[in-house]
């Protein structure tokens, strides 16, 4: 009989201290493909599972630069190239008057790219995810903490992982079906 495919093994913890400790121990043990779940951002948890930095600020910067140059060009083009109007010999390229809109569009594009970038990097929307197959996982959005070691980890060996997680003071350990 073929073995049922599994997503990973998940342990539930009562406190932030336990989940942080478990995540750090798992990394020391050599596990790399894992994720932790918590009902609020726990300091140090993303570092503990091996995710110290996010690339999001770069996306914000790119969005902001596009907004800044695009916003200025939006005004420069019609006033200087597209439809220049000579009003008492005043300069066409009156750049100080273009600053407010340039500023607003910088903020607009930077803000939109930040939010879209956050959602995109987080791979949302995710209509289905295996972790929800654990019945108590709905407490991850309420008051419990979870650590899941995924089956795609090169070191993954189901019995060893279950044994390892059971030693870390979990409330319970579950196998997560795909």
């Amino acid at each position: 009989m073929a073995k049922r495919p599994i997503y990973g093994v998940m342990a539930e913890f009562n406190t932030t201290k336990d989940v942080l400790h478990a995540a750090r121990r798992a990394r020391e043990e050599g596990y790399r493909r894992m994720d932790a779940y918590s009902p609020f951002p726990v300091e140090g948890l993303s570092e503990a599972i091996g995710f110290p930095h996010s690339r999001l600020p770069v996306i914000t910067l790119i969005g902001g630069l596009i907004g800044c140059f695009g916003g200025f060009f939006l005004q420069y083009y019609p006033n200087v190239m597209g439809f220049p109007l000579d009003i008492g010999g005043k300069p066409f390229d009156s750049w100080p008057a273009f600053i407010p809109i340039t500023f607003e569009l910088t903020i607009l594009c930077a803000g939109i790219s930040t939010v879209v970038g956050m959602i995109w990097l987080n791979k949302l929307p995710t209509p289905y995810h295996p972790v929800f197959n654990v019945p108590r996982f709905q407490l991850a959005s309420q008051d419990r903490f979870f650590l899941c070691i995924q089956s795609k980890d090169p070191q993954f060996e189901i019995d060893a992982v279950v044994r390892f997680l059971k030693d870390l003071n979990p409330r319970e350990v579950n196998v997560v079906p795909v």
Partner: protein, 477 residues
């Protein structure tokens, strides 16, 4: 509809919590992650209460008044407003400036206090942001209905039209379009990003299938992964950093609508900071006016504490003093300018036969009453007292916008062109109707969404417990 009762969903009350928070000036003692989750989602995931229906009915009635006023306006034309030459801008523009100012306190609380790491923002930021969005919606409506031909509103946007003409990018009125639409978009995004984890909580707690589905849709499959939280936190901080200069720029641009003109009473360099301070002042007054009934009706006294009200009272006092300083400087600069039009404007503002009385009511509401009472700790910590003072400040700020706009316009350079403005019933209908729109949206918000950010409250429970040594802090690596 069946009640969306959370009690029998598999939540944590089955087991006692690992610890409870010993409390803080900004959080009542004895709360755990589970209890804050239960309390805040309990305000939404339950049967609609009769009190809500009554309030909502009042709000909807006022909203219908707005619809009636706007229907008259669109059917007959802007002549329905009391405007004419010389007073071509009156109630609609006053309401616009007033509403958009109200929004500013929400952004200040959510963005600026986040950057300053002020933990007292936690329980007030969500509904203050909602207030911002609804206030900007009310504000955005006014320039639109004030146009003679509102169906051509899209001429304000730069689009490649067949005539080859473009908006006048050097005009503050066009800057306004960009500033207000950016402000609305960023506020909405900021609000949604904060709501994302709370939608997930609602998805997991809702009993009713429709609730699960709708909240699940908006949660986008949020599962509280540590990676997600990391990006979420970075995203919130970046948005806060972007929103803080934005909020200052928005009312600055609004003030440019006036300062760039040469009308005495408008043409003044103090306007940008003066308008921003006034905006924050009226915004905090509105936050107070919403927080006090909200905490009472939804029994949120554990989260919106007396200390919160005290802090907001102090901020009201501080921004009120900036406004007071601006009034003095405005008069001083007018007298110091040696410009006889400026002189006669400032004398007419308070001693003129036209709007002099309004000027004094404005000073009483905005300065004399708040600036004398808010120094008292007893008034700042009394819900009734603070609510009354905030109401005065709110009326005062509306009158300030009215006086700046109408009183300045009604007497310009040539006596032959002087004239009075008198509001018409349609003016009043649209003013009070806009309050109905705001209240309707706010009632829906309080019914359907968490009025306090749940995940940030859990974080607050954690932080306060850690600070008090109930749980040991885990050192970072």
């Amino acid at each position: 509809m069946e009640p969306l009762d959370p009690v029998d969903s598999p939540v944590a009350q089955e087991e006692p919590p690992a610890f409870v928070s010993p409390g803080d000036p900004f959080l009542a003692p004895g709360h755990s992650y589970a209890s804050v989750t239960r309390d805040i989602s309990g305000t939404v995931l339950r049967k609609t209460q009769r009190g809500w229906w009554i309030g909502f009915a009042v709000a909807i009635s006022l909203f219908l008044v707005l619809n009636f006023g706007i229907t008259l306006l669109f059917a007959i034309g802007v002549g329905e407003f009391g405007i004419n030459i010389p007073v071509g801008w009156a109630f609609a523009i006053t309401n616009f400036v007033w509403w958009i100012g109200i929004g500013h306190a929400g952004t200040l609380i959510s963005a600026f206090l986040l950057l300053m790491r002020q933990k007292w923002r936690t329980s007030i930021n969500r509904f203050a942001e909602a207030m911002t969005i609804f206030a900007v919606m009310c504000a955005g409506m006014f320039p639109f209905v004030h146009m003679g031909r509102p169906w051509l509103f899209y001429w304000l946007f730069p689009y490649p039209d067949t005539m080859g003409v473009w908006p006048q990018f050097r005009s503050p009125l066009v800057w306004d379009v960009f500033a207000v639409s950016t402000y609305f978009t960023i506020s909405l995004l900021f609000w949604y990003v904060g709501l994302l984890p709370d939608f997930a909580t609602f998805r997991d707690r809702a009993k009713h299938k429709a609730g699960k589905l709708i909240y699940g849709f908006f949660s986008m499959g949020w599962r509280g992964s540590a990676r997600h939280w990391k990006r979420h936190e970075v995203c919130s901080l970046l948005l806060a950093g972007l929103a803080t200069p934005l909020v200052v720029s928005v009312h600055t641009v609004v003030s440019f609508d006036f300062t760039i003109a040469i009308v005495p009473g408008w043409h003044s360099t103090i306007f940008p900071p003066y308008f921003v301070a006034g905006a924050i002042y009226s915004g905090f007054a509105m936050v107070i006016m919403l927080a006090i009934p909200l905490r009472k009706w939804y029994q949120l006294e554990d989260y919106i504490t007396i200390r919160h009200l005290n802090n907001m009272g102090k901020l009201l006092l501080a921004t009120g003093m900036i406004v007071a300083y601006s009034y003095v400087m405005e008069a001083f600069m007018a007298l110091y300018s040696a410009d006889k039009f400026e002189h006669s404007m400032i004398v007419d503002r308070f001693f003129g036969g036209g709007y002099g009385v309004v000027g004094w009511i404005l000073l009483s509401c905005n300065l004399f009453i708040p600036m004398t009472t808010l120094w008292s700790h007893r008034i700042r910590t009394s819900t009734v007292g603070l609510f009354i003072v905030a109401t005065f400040a709110q009326c005062g700020m509306w009158l300030e916008r009215f006086v700046i706009i109408v009183q300045s316009l009604h007497r310009d350079f040539t006596p032959s062109s002087w004239g009075m403005f008198y509001p018409t019933p349609t003016d009043w209908m649209i003013l009070f109707g806009s309050l109905g729109l705001f209240l309707t949206l706010f009632y829906l918000f309080a019914r359907l969404l968490p009025s306090i950010s749940i995940f940030e409250l859990r974080h607050l429970v954690h932080r306060t417990a850690e600070e008090a040594g109930v749980i040991e802090a885990v050192e970072a690596e």
